[in-house]
Subunit: 294 residues, 2 copies
């Protein structure tokens, strides 16, 4: 299933970029570069899986899957900028501003955020004669917008940057992880579930799953920064410590972080226990992610 | 009328920022700073006027008026960044990154773009029981998204930056003006008209008006950069020439630029001639703008 979802995303990832005038071709090249730089596609996979899980035709969820990957990609491009995390390498390749320059990287990020919303809005017009599906899509778009905004990834990056070089409380660290990482993963799962018209209970269970998965995902990333190799991660190891980033391993130590990772994964998996084999994709994804950080 | 529209915007300009956690309070302060730094509010005024002109209750257009001002403000914050135009002064006040630093200015821009879409999406939920109004609002949101994206202001800023320090053709200059400035002015007017459910002919006439007004607006700005004072503009004069920006005065000379400004204003006004006094707001706005550059 994971292969099916991933292939769908790879096949369609450029489909929802607006037609761009040849005079702005560098903008297109810059957006395309980062969209095809080998991301794991976790968020759009989760969106497609949640849509299918709740009864939406998978083809009808693709614009939203691409939109959430556009949002994720824009946030990475901006996070990597010299004024932010100043990263030269991402997924084993030079970051966007290293190739295209800072100005174009800022604009590629801006353009991708806008392209995400355009993909979703254009999709709404296809359902003008189907009120039920139209409303489901508006709800899905709303989930993605909430996760991408000032209570989601933007808030997370603000808190992350403001916490650099200073002592960070556990509460603040949780807030950073919830906004910077978990918010968009929750948005992906909830958007998919809204497309499928999930009932309140399923939506709630999927939300618990996604929130715990998102937190686990961030802790795993921080653990890998300590114990992983550059080859494995596609970026330099030990960067969090060098930049005095607030991380779980820095605050609680490696062992406690690995324990927390296991607990979060368990809570995530438990939230979907009542769905048995139907939730297999979600369960396997959570367990596989946890294994990387062990 | 202009006063009524402007007051409405000033009264509501912060209403559609998402509730932000106190941990991200600097993000809120940074967005608020640029939103209340004394903009002329041309775009949201045009949106409100077009909405009222075509029969939409003005109160119902306010979220869209604020959304387009959020988009415009985000684009100014990003345009002013050191990697872009590197401006220290805007509307007589220090630019966002001078006060809040580069990282926060990038994030404030990102957050404002997202807040604009959130304002519009949240508004859709209010009309779930009114299919006609719901569709009008989706059309309005679509106009704003088109003007703000990769065929609108983002494309314009890309072309503008790529044209610096090199000879620029008249065709390229027109493209820059159409995307960088006219696109969002067209979007404002069309979005308002979509809210009011304008017929095809009125939509077309308003579009001609807005496109010509938008081009006139940019040429007037470029003329003021040559003949205006710092006090008048709220930013340093002569900056376009210093940065070797492609402008109308640079390419065609001052006199030809002033002639072009008059022609565009006339075409804009003519497009609305058949509406007589009902279009007074639009006609007066165009004429007043043109006078500044004479």
């Amino acid at each position: 299933m994971r292969k099916k979802y991933k292939n769908l995303i790879e096949d369609h990832i450029l489909d929802y970029l607006p037609d761009i005038d040849h005079k702005s071709i560098t903008l297109y090249e810059s957006m395309k570069y980062s969209l095809t730089a080998g991301g794991k596609r976790i968020r759009p996979m989760l969106l497609l899986a949640a849509a299918e899980f709740t009864g939406c035709k998978i083809e009808e969820a693709i614009p939203y899957a691409c939109a959430i990957e556009y949002i994720h990609t824009y946030s990475l491009i901006h996070d990597d900028l010299p004024a932010m995390d100043d990263d030269q390498l991402r997924r084993g390749q030079p970051t966007n501003h290293i190739i295209f320059g800072e100005a174009m990287a800022i604009l590629a990020g801006d353009g991708l955020q806008s392209a995400a919303f355009e993909a979703m809005t254009k999709d709404l017009f296809l359902y003008f004669d189907n009120e039920d599906k139209l409303k489901k899509r508006i709800r899905a778009a709303n989930e993605i917008i909430k996760g991408s905004g000032c209570r989601g990834i933007v808030a997370g990056q603000v808190a992350d940057i403001e916490s650099e070089d200073r002592a960070c409380s556990g509460e603040m660290l949780d807030y950073i992880h919830l906004t910077k990482t978990a918010a968009l993963i929750v948005a992906a799962v909830r958007a998919g579930a809204q497309l499928g018209g999930a009932d309140a209970e399923t939506l709630e269970n999927l939300t618990i799953y996604a929130e715990n998965l998102g937190l686990a995902f961030q802790i795993e990333d921080d653990i890998l920064d300590v114990i992983g190799s550059e080859e494995e991660m596609g970026k330099k190891a030990g960067m969090d410590e060098a930049k005095k980033k607030s991380t779980y391993p820095a605050l609680y130590g490696l062992e406690a972080s690995q324990k927390k990772l296991m607990e979060l994964t368990e809570t995530a998996v438990d939230a979907l226990a009542s769905y048995y084999d139907n939730a297999e994709f979600f369960v396997k994804l959570a367990k596989d992610l946890a294994t990387r950080g062990r």
